[in-house]
Amino acid sequence: MNHVVCIAYVPDTETKVKIGGDGKSIDETDVKWIVSPYDEYALEEALKTREAKGGTVTVLTFGPARADVGLRECLARGADEAVRIASDGLGETDSLGVAQLLAAALKGMKADAIWMGSKGVGTDAGVMVSMVAELLDLPNVNLVTKVEWKDGAVTLWREVEGGREVVESPLPCVIGAHKGLNEPRYASLKGIMAAKKKVIAVKKPADLGVDPAGITGEKAAVRWTKLELPPARQACKLIPADDPQKAAEELLRLLRDEAKVL
């Protein structure tokens, strides 16, 4: 079985996000980048399946050259090959644009299972699984927390409100991995050393038959118009409690007159 795992290289969840000068993008200086945690579940499941049943695992991403570090980390964990669709100089696109690029690349890759995280922690849009599946005309199952393989098919457990749903899908299909599916492994030093020697295939959108003009600028259906940070939290106000009675009165007054919650 051949697996392709689509990964996103996103700002670390612990990064303090700063808004860029144009007010609609993130200031990328000092950002630490990581493979999106949900994609790690996807990769782990693909690797485990390959170890049990043979085949190959290829990781695929769309991004600038820095994303090669993320791909190399996946290679270090055990992926066989890595492909990057270069975003350099492409201009701003949207989820559908990315889905088109991924789908175009996937068409040439003969995957039995296409994996990705249920969402990327960057934008949290959560649409990639369905979009890619739709563009490839494949079934998709998202929020998957358990997988069982059969001949030419797969049984998938998915989290739904208040319970679990068990579905069977023919192969190939697109699977969205969710928290709880597995415990991702660490890259071993051997893996890291081996990954260094591998070549990452870099493809331009044009190589995949996608016209950049069709997915960027005015053609992008979703555009960021403004980004705002949540308002800064105000400093904590301490009420002196020398006299409990007076302190309670003061607290009530503040809650009523200043915070206006009463």
Partner: protein, 590 residues
Amino acid sequence: MSTTKTDTEVHSFLKSLYKGEFAESLVFPFPEVPEDVKETVTVFADAYRDFDAQFIDSEKIDRDHFFPREAIQGLGDLGALGMTIPEEYGGSGFSAAAYCKMVEVIGPLDSSAAIVIGSHQSIGLKPLLLFGTDEQKRKWLPDLASGKRLAAFCLTEPEAGSDAASLKTTAVYDPATDEYVLNGTKQWISNGGFAKFLTVFARIPSEAAEKDKHREIACFAVVPDESGELPGLTRGPEEKKLGLCGSSTCQIILENCRVPAFNMIGGKGQGFRVAVETLNTGRTSLGAGSVGGCKQMIKLATEHATQRKQFKTRIADFELIREKIAEMTANTYVLESMVYLTAGLIDKGVPDYSLEGACCKVYGTELLWKTINEALQIAGGNGFMNEYPYGRALRDSRVNMIFEGTNEILRLYLALTGMKEAGDVLKGVEKAVYSPLTQYGVLIGHAQKWMQGNVPAFDKKLQKVHPALAPEADQVSHYASIFRNAVETIVFRNGKKVIERQYLHHRIADTLIDLYAQVATLSRVTAAIEKKGEEKAKPEIEIARWFCFQARHRMVASLKALDKNRDAEATAISNAVYEAGGYPFDLWGW
């Protein structure tokens, strides 16, 4: 790398200093680590941190005095036990710089893990790596790299600590089976409780004269089966220690333990050299561990000092705190410069870095102790509470100044080796370092040579330091010259008694460490200025100025005291104490 005539002749920067040369091209430019190596180590460090967070509970390990066995297997699977082993033998072939960087990461996360990893590859398997035959390496290194077998270095004995050459364990050849039969007891063996590859140093008895007794020593790989058993090998109970409580430390008792002759590493008579070289190469990484520990303490101290308010002021703004923070930080920068300059020498293939490694170990382990102490002081009362990390850090770091050569022995080594280099007459000084009280060759001959003016004057200057640091460079050149002449004078004045003048050795060693520290710092800051420009490198220039100023005071004090001192009084005082069996001056005469 440009090589001048001087540098092809000189194989060690500090030895060249004693000879009256600056082998400047060994230490300039400051070594740079290739980007791909940085990337590998960065990714591996992240993986290691994740592993540590999930599997290593330092508080529990310290409390239970036990390092979980699954965690050791985990370290093996991760690749942390094969970092220094070449790829062809199943490891990752890390450069010295890459290994030091990882030690820097591992140490502060969990010091017991650092001891498991360090005892394994900094010393335990090092004899095999340095002196093993290809056949021996193929046989054992792959299992050592994967963590299937953990190594332990077995040199120390109850009666042979600093004087390792006096070890008593014997190895007697049995021609009938082509085996050696080992008998003896090894003491305080790190990883001793679970090691499955023990490098044991033992004496093959001979009729050799007393002064050649160290030539009897050989190194043997003692290799138990997969369950850790071997007939004749017993492991003592775990020692109860002040710190590093999770690491295993115990006696290894050998009673008619049979080892195939094939297992001798480095050949007959080479054991002492194997031990010394192993320890020499391992010391730089102790400096690296200290760098990591210091950085952790600076972080804790900064967090506390900037948050804690007293007298309506954050304590960080008080000059008594600034002084501490500046000192901790500048000294850590200096140590980092020394460690990675030395690692660079190793990676460049410079054959002798024993003095540089010893400088890193002595300076680093003492700096870490001081730095933890200062961070604890900044934390005030909290620092004394066990729920804060300072107490354990102090306990865990204390042994650094004792093991892998006590800092006292290393100071003697730094000074005596220098005297040997300076005069080139003190034969067998490496042994003298481990049996410093044994008599050695006569130095008078050299003193005569010196009197006749046959020793070249030291008038060299550091040429490659950036002009922004010209006063500091001149200072180093000036004191290097005074230092070198002072060493000559001491040799001349004391004759062969010089090897007993440990008061003087202390001062010589401290000055040598300060000289190396300054050269390393000036080299690194020069590189920083060339890379970023003077403006951006300003904080680093300030560190160099701060440190060289401090170092000057210390050097002046030490060098003056070579001549004018109260050493005779120190001897008299200690004599009085020894006679009384303790403090003899109680005010009430009790």
